[in-house]
């Protein structure tokens, strides 16, 4: 609810805390950034076991040294075209909502220190483009990095999708436009 109260875009007080180290990676030509503290490790692509009757963006589960963790395809999640795996394809293991989740990305780039001053508020593109899981837009060496709020990108929406899947028996991913009401208002 704090998003509503703080008006459009990101909560103001968190803007100052955005600066720091980010792990950047590529997804369909765009460069994204993940807070480094959320990243547990980066592994190469290992065999992923698909889990039936789950949304398409859930690639399945993998064995991370004896732990079974789900893996999410960010391309599919963000509604991008799927791409075949290459040597550069990676799974970034992140900590989101107190559990480990793997995220498949095209290529891992570097760890960047981005100062708060170089981070802009995420612009609003209207209701067609979902930007609620963009923390902000970082600028570094003249390039733009989309800083992801991985908690938001992965958690609530997915859990809701999953619930719906298990409840209705549907295997179809919810369309990305299905943003929670609160968020919609915040961006309007």
């Amino acid at each position: 609810m704090e998003h509503l109260e703080s008006g459009a875009g990101q909560p103001i007080q968190s803007e100052g805390e955005l600066g720091g180290k980010y792990l950047t990676f590529f997804l369909a030509g765009e460069e994204y950034g993940l807070e480094i503290l959320k990243v547990h490790e980066i592994i190469g692509v290992i065999p992923i076991t698909p889990v039936p009757r789950t949304p398409k963006y859930i690639r399945g589960v993998v064995n991370l040294r004896g732990k079974v963790i789900p893996v999410i395809d960010l391309r599919r999640k963000f509604g991008m075209q799927p791409k075949d795996e290459t040597e550069e394809t990676c799974i970034i293991v992140v900590q989101a909502q107190q559990r480990e989740i793997g995220v498949v990305v095209d290529k891992v780039s570097e760890v960047l220190d981005i100062a708060s001053g170089d981070i802009d508020e995420s612009p609003s593109f209207g209701s067609g483009v979902q930007t609620d899981y963009i923390l902000g837009i970082g600028k570094s060496e003249g390039k733009v990095k989309l800083l992801l709020d991985i908690e938001k990108a992965l958690s609530n929406q997915d859990v809701k999708d999953l619930r719906r899947v298990t409840d209705t028996g549907s295997a179809e991913a919810a369309p990305p436009a299905a943003v929670p009401e609160g968020m919609m208002e915040a961006h309007a």
Binding site: I46, P47, T49, P50, V51, P52, R53, T54, I58, G60, V61, V62, N63, R65, G66, K67, V68, I69, P70, A96, Q97, Q98, R99, E100, I101, L154, S155, D158, V159, L162, R163, V165, T166, T168, G169, S170, A171, E172
Partner: protein
């Protein structure tokens, strides 16, 4: 050797200082014992360095000094000369050793002979110690003189002190038979010495008056050796004027030793130990006639160490440790001496106080408005509570950490307390309250339910029983007095520690390892010596006898005693968090998998690498053993669950007015700890049903030609990798017609025709099904059996019913051994692999083409042994591409249970495998048809199928007709249809 060269010079120096002191004051026993001690340490060091010659020499010195100390020989000038010679020799030796590092070059030690023959040293006419006694009168006079001198002594002028001091020493030396007097005089002399060295006049004054007290006590003692009370006070109270009985009790009790130990063990004790605080009580206790002579000897030894400590800056820590050892030995002895003597004493001392407040003997009074019916109920209830408390207390004897048992006892006391307070039986509620407090301390893990505490709890139970009997008698109109032990027990319960109760066991248990054996094993003494001592020791404990005959050193004996105590404790256990244990088991599971990955590697399987294969095999054996061990860590016997049932049957049969004989078998069958918690509820339901519905009323039974008492039997055993729990009753059995009629009425089935008995019986597992004619508060609401089935299935188990109407029924629960590992069948569908739990598989087969049929184009069926069952295609349910479409080309796995059996089409069976079941990982939640995941032999994740979920899923989708291409598209649109 280096250690020896480092230590020995220091010890030697100390020894020479002590010998110097002895030369000045041959009657002072303190430097004597200190010197003997130093020689002992030299011997020890030499032994450790392997220096036989030096060791022998040191032993001789020690022996000589010890015999002097024990009064066997006198330390005369000749003696001292030899000792000095010995000292010189030792110093010489050290110099040689420092250079050559071997013993070969040592000078000859001709003096050793001399020391071993003390008679040879008696160049001076021997003054046998006994002669001193004959001069007692004269000396007593001089003691009085000394006392007078002391009183006249001006604290500022110290010149006279030396005279008094030497007089005291002489006197003390003349008191060999009566060591208490001697000790007192010694102490007085010590005080005087301290006074002469003391800087502040105030302290001097204090020391002088203390010395005076000691002298007074000694002279009292000489005059009336039988009366010991007064000197004991004097010795015990450090301040003059503080001659009150409190001091006596505080010092007289065993807790004094604990206090001193605490002082000694306090951090920084080595630097800032208040010596007098330790020494005084020690000395006082060493004179206490309450203790046996051996304990007193130990105590005075400890006190002697204190005085060594006084003048010795260097080895403070060692000395403190030694004192600690002595005290440990003392407390061991105190503990081993039967505390029955102590407890009654303590009670006696308390009793007058207690009885003073309520002077008249208590009479068990019932309140005027007693409802006898209520009271009767209370007695029954309390007796039951006491029974369970007793049983649990007995369990606790063997496993004092069993918190469940502690809780049971606690609850029992609590129940009795609550009810008795409600009924106005204050006496009972008071006692129950105190007992409850004790138990709550155990529950809080403040104390352990063992030894004295356990006895106390059991005594409380006994007394409560007596009191309850009293209440019953009172109901019958008799006057009953409260048992005399009530107050003493209450006092004990109020403050158990104050009465010397601890978790140390009070019964003299047979010692598993003999003290002598331990000492011999440690190389401290020779076996022959021990046997010789043991043969001659008589009634004295071996440890004491050994010390007395100077066969072994006190500290060795104390050590041995303690290690004996350690080994005597039966099974030690470590508490581990379940979480850690689970993780360990998980990891071992992973290790098993990792190992099988290695074992199945091509390199290993290649026949040319025989050696590698052998090593991998070896590792495999270890891993399997480790796995077995890990599994057993979680296993606990079913006893607890079974006992709960016994109680339930008893209560229930009484409530419904039936006679039931309940027997259990296989209580020791072990089962996964997690399962024990879950299995409890379904078992309760089933046992209730057996008693409430199964067993008939006595009249009915007799009418049916059975004995009036029904039999209910609970039997657990292992079979085929499963745990099987059978509940059998010889009641009326399940009535097929009644169940069928009810099922038809409920719309569960259309007709019972063609259904086997078993299928009909399994209808009772349907939700809301009950055939009980009337709903009792015990059972019959129809929620029981479906809960039973569900919770057992959650454990991946099954329930089976077999019953014969009129003769009884048997419910069989089949459970896997453990939850952590699932026995699974690995199946392949397309490119995917799944694990089907073996418990859920009835069979698998390749269907004949003519056994297949479709039903109205809606579903496929297969006929197997006259049983028609639906076919579910896994590739359709899970949308897997590239799988076998023709049932005849694939394999049908029959899963489910009872009437919900169905065949699942898979491509092929890959083999059986044990897997560690894991959750799908956070974020995915529940996926219908999948119960979890497991890591397969190749490291990939395989999904474990949830067959029931699968059947449900299939049934939802069956509503939708099969499309022309033979596949069911599951989409958002069809989802609504599925519902």
């Amino acid at each position: 050797m280096r250690q020896f060269l480092k230590q020995a010079p220091r010890i030697l120096k100390g020894l020479s200082v002590k010998l110097g002191q002895l030369a000045d004051d041959p009657y002072n026993r303190r430097p004597l014992s200190a010197a003997a001690q130093a020689a002992g340490r030299l011997l020890e060091q030499a032994d450790q360095a392997g220096l036989r010659e030096f060791g022998k020499a040191a032993d001789a010195v020690r022996h000589a000094l010890q015999s002097c100390r024990e009064g066997q020989t006198e330390l005369n000038s000749r003696h001292q000369e030899v000792l000095k010679q010995a000292l010189g020799w030792m110093q010489e030796c050290l110099a040689v050793l420092q250079e050559s590092q071997t013993e070969l070059a040592l000078p000859k030690a001709d003096w050793v002979e001399l020391l071993h023959r003390p008679q040879a040293l008696s160049a001076d006419p021997p003054t046998p110690a006994r002669t001193g006694l004959q001069q007692d009168d004269g000396k007593a006079m001089s003691l009085d003189d000394l006392a007078v001198l002391l009183v006249q002594q001006d604290p500022e002028d110290l010149s006279g002190l030396g005279k008094i001091q030497s007089g005291l020493r002489k006197l003390a030396a003349l008191q060999p038979d009566n060591c208490q007097t001697g000790e007192l005089l010694d102490s007085a002399a010590e005080k005087l010495m301290q006074a002469s060295q003391s800087g502040s006049s105030k302290q001097r004054e204090r020391l002088l008056s203390e010395a005076g007290l000691f002298i007074d006590a000694a002279s009292d003692m000489m005059e009336a050796p039988g009366e010991v009370g007064s000197w004991q006070l004097a010795a015990g109270s450090p301040e003059p004027g503080a001659r009150n009985p409190e001091t006596e009790t505080s010092l007289g009790s065993g807790t004094g030793i604990e206090e001193i130990l605490q002082l000694l063990n306090a951090p920084g004790a080595a630097e800032s130990l208040d010596l007098s605080a330790v020494q005084k009580p020690l000395r006082a206790m060493s004179l206490d006639p309450e203790y046996s002579a051996d304990i007193r000897e130990l105590l005075s030894q400890a006190a002697a160490r204190c005085s060594i400590l006084d003048g010795n800056e260097g080895s403070t820590e060692n000395l403190i440790a030694e004192i600690g050892l002595f005290l440990d030995a003392v407390s061991d002895m105190l503990a081993s001496s039967p505390p029955q003597e102590e407890a009654p004493q303590a009670v006696d001392s308390q009793q007058p106080l207690e009885q003073a407040s309520p002077p008249e003997p208590l009479v068990l009074k019932l309140p005027e408005d007693t409802d006898s019916e209520l009271m009767g109920e209370f007695i029954t209830e309390s007796n039951e509570a006491i029974d369970s408390a007793e049983a649990s207390l007995l369990d606790l004897e063997t496993s004092p950490d069993d918190m469940e048992a502690v809780n049971t006892v606690f609850r029992s006391f609590h129940t009795i307390k609550g009810t008795s307070a409600f009924l106005g039986l204050d006496i009972i509620s008071h006692l129950a309250h105190l007992a409850e407090n004790l138990l709550s301390r155990i529950r809080e893990k403040e104390i352990v339910c063992a030894g004295g505490y356990a006895d106390l709890a059991l005594r409380s139970v006994d007394l409560l029983k007596e009191l309850l009997q009293g209440v019953q008698d009172s109901l019958g109109g008799q006057e009953t007095a409260v048992p005399a032990s009530y107050h003493s027990l209450a006092a004990l319960l109020k403050a158990p520690e104050a009465h010397g109760i601890s978790d140390e066991s009070s019964d003299a248990e047979p010692l598993p390892a003999r003290l002598g054996d331990i000492l011999v094993n440690q190389g401290k003494v020779e076996r022959d010596e021990v046997e010789a001592v043991a043969a001659s020791k008589g009634e004295v404990p071996l440890g004491q006898a050994l010390v007395k005959s100077s066969t072994a050193r006190v500290s060795d004996v104390a050590h041995a005693l303690r290690s004996q105590k350690r080994s005597a404790s039966p099974e030690s256990s470590v508490r581990v968090r379940t979480e850690k244990l689970d993780r360990l088991i998980d990891m071992v599971g992973e290790l098993v998998i990792a190992h099988s990955m290695v074992a199945q590697d091509e390199i290993v399987l290649d026949r040319s690498n025989f050696d590698t294969a052998r090593k991998v095999n070896h590792a495999g054996k270890i891993v399997r053993e480790l796995q077995d061990l890990c599994m057993s860590l979680r296993m606990i016997p079913m006893r607890g669950v079974f006992q709960k049932m016994a109680r339930l049957v008893r209560d229930l049969s009484r409530k419904v007015g039936k006679q039931v004989e309940f027997t259990t078998e296989g209580e020791e069958t072990e089962i996964d700890r997690n399962m024990v918690d879950i299995i409890g509820d379904p078992l309760v339901h089933m046992v209730r049903n057996a008693v409430d519905h199964g067993v008939e009323m006595p009249q009915e039974r007799q009418a049916a030609g059975k004995s009036a008492t029904g039999k209910v039997r609970l039997h657990a055993y292992h079979a085929g990798g499963s745990v099987i729990v059978e509940l059998t009753d010889d009641g009326k059995g399940l009535n097929r017609e009644q169940i069928a009629a009810k099922a038809v009425a409920n719309g569960l089935i259309e007709s019972a025709d063609g259904l086997s008995d078993r299928e009909v019986f399994e209808l009772i597992f349907a939700p809301g099904f009950s055939t009980a004619q009337e709903i009792t508060d015990v059972s019959g609401r129809g929620v029981g059996m479906d809960v039973v089935r569900r919770s057992i299935e959650s454990l991946r188990g099954r329930v089976q019913i077999s019953s014969k109407y009129g003769q009884g029924s048997t419910f069989t629960i089949v459970l896997p051994l453990t939850l952590a590992i699932t026995d699974g069948m690995l199946v392949r569908v397309g490119a995917e692999r799944f694990i089907v739990p073996t418990v859920n598989i009835f069979m698998s087969f390749c269907p004949e083409p003519d056994s297949l049929s479709t039903v109205t184009g809606r579903g496929e069926m297969v006929l197997l042994r006259d049983e028609l069952m639906p076919i579910h295609r896994l590739h359709r349910l899970f949308e897997i591409e590239g799988a076998v479409h023709q049932p005849t080309q694939g394999i049908l796995v029959v899963v489910g249970d009872g009437d919900r059996r169905c065949a699942v089409l898979v491509d092929e069976l890959l083999g059986q495998q044990q897997v560690v079941a894991k959750s799908l990982g956070g974020g995915l939640g529940q996926v219908q048809g999948v119960s979890g995941a497991a890591i397969l032999g190749d490291g990939k994740v395989g999904l474990i199928l949830d067959t029931n979920g699968l059947v449900e899923l299939a049934q939802q989708c069956l509503v939708k007709p099969i499309s022309a291409d033979g596949s069911v598209k599951i989409s958002n649109g069809s989802a609504a249809g599925c519902r």
